[in-house]
Amino acid sequence: MNIFLVSFIGAFCSADITAFGQFMIYRPIFCAPIIGFFAGDVITGLCIGIISELFWIKTVPMGVAVIPDISMIGILSTFWTCAYFPGFKDATILGILLAIPFAYLYRWIDILGRKLNVKIMHWVEDGIKDAKIWRIEIGIWSGLLFFLLRAFLFYLFAIAIGGKLFCDIYAELPKYVLSGLAKAWYLFPAAGFGVAYNMTNIRVLFLGNSGND
């Protein structure tokens, strides 16, 4: 699967978090299997989708919160695994672990992008004052375009650099670590359900209203 196409799909999924629509295509449970489908390994995509969705089930952009780009965890790990080690359970888990820093790094880039939006917003406001109402459209489209562009470029960077790291690390890992990663493939969903139960309102049944909310 072409890295430009993956970056393009990834950028659209990232934009769905805040910038456009909120159709939930950014959720790993949707985007990871879709990438897996195009890359010819749906099962890997589904597995990554379930694990990522469970661990980050409460990661949603509520209010002013800027969340780590969890679509990146699903898309990058599915792409790396399908491209380099299709069907390898240990590589699947390594892919998820390696994609996490990229998702958190992109959050900082996203925050910088929103600071740039303040400048565009003032430019639009000044435009309305000067009867240049067309600036509203330009402002909105440029906000969306910058969002897509930075996500697209970051995906290209992450796929290339991360892919190289992924292969190198996998080749260097001792056998017992690989065996541990393969065990994690079975146990991560159980752990994910634990996290998900805790993060959703089911927690109230077990722990009352105290907790990490």
Binding site: M62, V124, F193
Partner: protein, 256 residues
């Protein structure tokens, strides 16, 4: 109204730290103002009334758009000298509604409806995975279709009711409470069903065999679930993930 509906998808395209969704809100209303005000100066003033701070729930913002559009229609018919009080009222309604709508909508859509459909999707995935069916790809499609059917329905209904009933349309929110209770119960049921099926497929069968005895396998799955449940309560999901990974590697080192 169709134009306003389509434009509502762009509410957060220029989301910013200073005034959040302000330009998005102005962008939604712009075609309405184009029709309402023939005089450029009046249109400019109307747009400037809405560039202040605004932040609400993207799916439910339609109700505010509808009410504001209705009030703007009244303002447009008034003499410029008599508009002050109505403008003040409109701004009050807008700012008073934005917060509560977000407080209702965000937990409902993101905290209840989406997790419920995620669990449903997982249940279908595990079920098809057990049968090794090629229809497994339908699971994420069902998730996205159901979620978007409900969120699009809410967007359309709220915009329509905002337009039609203006400030009386807030009654619609009362109906949300009963829906929210049902969905909360749905999250619980679907989460239990998905986890039970996962345990049945991996904990009891040879597919998820970690140890030689199937009973120990099931215990390991439940122990990991409980560890993760309590660890994430105190330290968050990433801590849980890396703790489980460390346990898996230690198991491998020990040859278990």
């Amino acid at each position: 109204m169709i134009k306003l509906f389509i434009r509502s998808f762009f509410l957060q395209a220029l989301w910013n730290y200073e005034r959040m969704q302000n330009i998005g809100f102005v962008f939604i209303l712009r075609p309405f103002f184009d029709r309402l005000y023939a005089v450029e100066k009046e249109k400019k003033e109307a747009l400037l009334r809405h560039v202040g701070y605004f932040n609400s729930q993207p799916y439910m913002v339609g109700i505010i758009v509808g009410i504001v559009a209705n009030m703007e229609k009244k303002i447009a018919k008034m003499e410029p000298a008599n508009r002050k009080e109505t403008i003040r009222n409109m701004n009050r309604v807008k700012s008073n509604m934005a917060g509560p709508l977000a407080a209702i909508g965000d937990p409902f859509f993101y905290g209840e409806l989406r997790p419920m459909l995620s669990f449903l999707s997982m249940f279908i995935m595990v079920m098809f995975a057990k049968r090794r069916s090629e229809y497994i790809i339908l699971a994420p499609i069902i998730f996205i279709s159901l979620y978007n059917f409900l969120q699009l329905k809410t967007r359309i209904r709220f915009l329509y009711e905002g337009f039609k009933y203006s400030s009386n349309s807030m009654k619609i929110l009362a109906r949300f409470k009963s829906t929210s209770d049902s969905v909360r119960f749905g999250v619980f049921v679907m989460a239990m069903a998905a986890f039970s099926l996962y345990l049945a497929v991996f904990g009891f069968s040879s597919e998820g065999r970690l140890f030689n005895s199937g009973d120990i396998d099931l215990l390991a799955y439940i122990a990991i679930f409980l560890l993760s449940f309590f660890a994430s309560n105190k330290f968050g999901p990433l801590f849980s993930m890396f703790s489980v990974l460390a346990i898996c590697i230690i198991m491998s080192v020990l040859g278990i």
